[in-house]
Symmetry: C2
Subunit: 491 residues, 2 copies
């Protein structure tokens, strides 16, 4: 196999440039990605990071790494205003629905899994839950206290950002300053306990009505939002690991706070490559519940939202997301999704055509060069956008050969087939959808129908052959006569 | 709707007789079921309890209860010899594979979920992991220590079964005696720490090579196997709850130990109804890895085991399990599975025929009586075996009407359709399989083919109509001409 390990470059948010990827332990990659906060139905904001890091996971595996991919589930401690104050989101939802918080969390965890499954997102190696790692979080808070970078106030524990700024410098990852951290917080419960408004909670004492709570040395309470990722990544990947991923929206203050925590608790920065996917918009607008453009993934799959003209399949959504490079913004619109659907169908049709190609004596196309170009796109910071463009170039090759305007020898045809499959199925994680290629029984029945049609044509029984064509048209099936016989396509 | 709540009887292992089911809190049911230990691929021993308690969950929901169904995942602390000694199974597997134990656990959790999904087992309301509830287990061990029914020895904590026997009497649930508990244990690591060989571990100090470990007041170690279920059922369902389920193999010593723990820790027995599903055998033999008859569910689905003549679909497995009452033993054999498959197909065909029935002016069958008989079977300790027999009686009714030898008026036809669907899909959780009824596209294509066949017959073109019949036969599709037109069935 081609040695892609020596060529892979990743854009590192820490330093803001592409760097050659060199893992800490040869042949192994440790990757931690911030997973979902489970208090609502999965939406586009869940799909993009899940698919981005699925692509990266798949590619690292493909080029020969043993990857431990940890993606957490935040089922506690994510505070409402994304600073460290206010009510725990999950506990709040549970009270409204008069449910046990873990029952709410479980419902949305299951919903997340079902949805990611249909998007063909591989399960991570380990999927730890924040509520399942309270001991580890308490241990890490204690370590930060022991090192003198946190303080206890009224049963809660806060990270001393001012002291950290003095000793290590704040904002390495995000470029934000302490003042921005302060203006990011609001004057809410707990602010009067802090030495400085920039400080963030490591442990919060539970108010009496707060139903998710655990014993700790400081109070019956719950962990702050940022500590879970540092505690769980350290537990499963060690003090230092290769890649930490997440959405751009988590860069500040969440990831910046993780840098503070791990620097102090582990005595060193944990992460070698920070990787952030960019945001999505809908018809040019930020997505938000108050804006009326908040569309869940299931609504996309069913076409059940006033902004959607119709349903879009999971593979259309996946393909659309992969058609943009993960560091570009991505705007969802009906036009763009319909275009993506057509593009995906074109690739699926090419897969079918590819099966029918016959090898010639010589090649008019350079397949090895095409394979190298495909890998180059992925080695250039996982550029799936350019990889898909290369797959469309392969479609051009396939159709040229199919139309008899070019040829491939047996070796090149085998290579093209092998690598088209590798890039389409294994690396991009796409699937040929049933409505594009039909299932097994449908394919057999179509064979029967096309035989009947051929027989009618042989007998010059145009009434029957026209009737067949008409009825198939009603089902959205187009039949095309080629020199290799009739082929069909469902749109 | 019929008031089934006042009629439901459940066989209670505690007392060994059927009892009217009266929930602790009106309209609510709390149910805890021992879930999988995640150190291997899911097999029949996982399918039977999952499907048994899925049936119970579905029925309780159907008759109007709000059910909180908790099924745990044992990802730590299940000790190898099912007593309290020896090495933690998961940690052992992890060391063999040189993996992080949680990576092994995650792999098998995902595998369990995928397999239960295809068996159409509903996800429980809460699925807590033992490793995620170490704090709760430590708290409960402390409570048992505080009450004087446990002692610390060399960093481990043991339950004092002798003292429990004296104060409360041992063996209420299983009828086993202390002597049997003693003979159930073996002379292994830790026995010399116990005051009495019958005592069982609540917390074990970790040996240096034991990689799953947590801080506790007594040692760095891990919880005993029995404590997790008591801690997690108490947390999510309260000190007292309605139903505790599991396989018969867990009755002793696991559930008997749970009785000891909750009696002491909560000051009362927790469980009102103990429900146990019986065991499975394969060709009359106990299933076991050493016996060469250990077949995973995926091997059943793919037919990939030397004992299997061919593949059996997930719905065939589910139907086969439901065809026996959960308290009967169940023997798997090729003959029995093939018979189950035919039975399921018969029900699926009847579903199709049912759609085609036309209402008459009067009814020759008593549909209301049939509905009541169906509910009676379920109210009699969830007797799915008898319910399926009633569904076959409905097939007889359906065919009688279809053949014109009987009739149903519009109301009765609507009732029969409604309740056949309720019992088949909602309560038994069965699905009409694609190879029985075809998918949407296949159905449309078959319509095209049957139209062509009809046209050929009209034109007395026997060559074409025979060719169609022959080609469909090759695909395993049989066409039958009825007074309502041609119908088809795939076998």
């Amino acid at each position: 196999m081609i040695d892609n390990k020596s060529k892979l470059h990743i854009f590192n948010t820490l330093g803001k440039k592409k760097e050659l990827f060199i893992p800490i332990h040869e042949n192994h990659v440790g990757m931690y990605v911030c997973g979902p906060t489970v208090y609502g139905e999965p939406h586009l904001g869940h799909a993009r990071p899940a698919i981005t890091f699925d692509l990266i996971f798949r590619y690292l595996l493909h080029i020969g790494y043993k990857v431990r991919y940890v993606r957490n589930i935040t089922d506690v401690g994510h505070l409402e205003n994304d600073a460290d104050e206010g009510e725990d989101k999950i506990a709040k939802k549970a009270r409204i629905e008069a449910l046990e918080p873990m029952e709410v969390a479980q419902y949305y965890i299951d919903s997340y899994h079902f949805t990611m499954d249909v998007l063909n997102v591989k399960r991570p190696s380990i999927e730890p839950r924040a509520s399942g790692h309270i001991i580890e979080q308490i241990d890490m808070v204690q370590r930060i206290l022991d090192h003198g970078y946190a303080y206890v106030a009224n049963g809660s524990v806060y990270f001393d950002v001012v002291k950290f700024e003095r000793d290590f410098g704040y904002g390495k990852l995000s470029g934000r300053t302490l003042n921005e951290m302060i203006s990011n917080t609001r004057t809410l419960d707990g602010q009067d306990e802090k030495h400085n408004p920039a400080d963030f909670a490591l442990w919060k004492k539970a108010a009496p009505e707060h139903i998710m709570r655990w014993n700790s040395p400081w109070s019956i309470g719950f962990p702050g939002w940022h500590i879970e990722c540092t505690a769980m990544s350290t537990k499963y990947l060690g003090n230092q690991f290769d890649i930490h991923g997440g959405g751009m929206d988590l860069l500040f203050p969440h990831h910046e706070s993780e840098v503070c925590q791990s620097t102090v608790a582990n005595g060193e920065e944990s992460v070698k490559y920070w990787v952030h996917n960019n945001m999505i918009t809908i018809n040019g607008q930020k997505m938000g519940k108050s804006l009326g453009n908040f569309i869940t993934l299931n609504e996309f799959f069913k076409g059940e939202h006033e902004l959607l003209e119709r349903a879009y399949s999971p593979m259309t959504i996946r393909f659309f997301i992969l058609q943009a490079h993960y560091r570009s913004t991505l705007d969802f619109s009906n036009e763009a999704l319909i275009a993506a659907e057509k593009g995906l169908q074109k690739l699926c049709s090419a897969l079918t055509t590819l099966e029918k190609l016959k090898a010639g004596n010589s090649s008019t196309e350079d397949i090895n060069a095409w394979i190298l170009r495909c890998y180059d796109t992925m080695n250039d910071d996982f550029n799936s956008s350019k990889l898909i463009a290369e797959l469309f170039d392969a479609v051009r090759i396939i159709n040229t050969v199919y139309d008899g305007k070019g040829s491939l020898n047996a070796d090149d045809l085998a290579l093209l087939t092998q690598y088209f499959h590798i890039f389409f199925f294994e690396i991009l994680g796409l699937k040929a959808e049933t409505n594009a290629s039909g299932n097994e029984l449908s394919n057999s029945l179509m064979d029967v129908i096309l035989d009947l049609r051929q027989q009618a044509k042989n007998e010059k029984n145009w009434t029957v052959s026209d009737m067949i064509r008409m009825k198939l048209n009603e089902l959205g099936i187009a039949v095309k006569d080629t020199k290799e016989g009739a082929v069909w396509e469902k749109n």
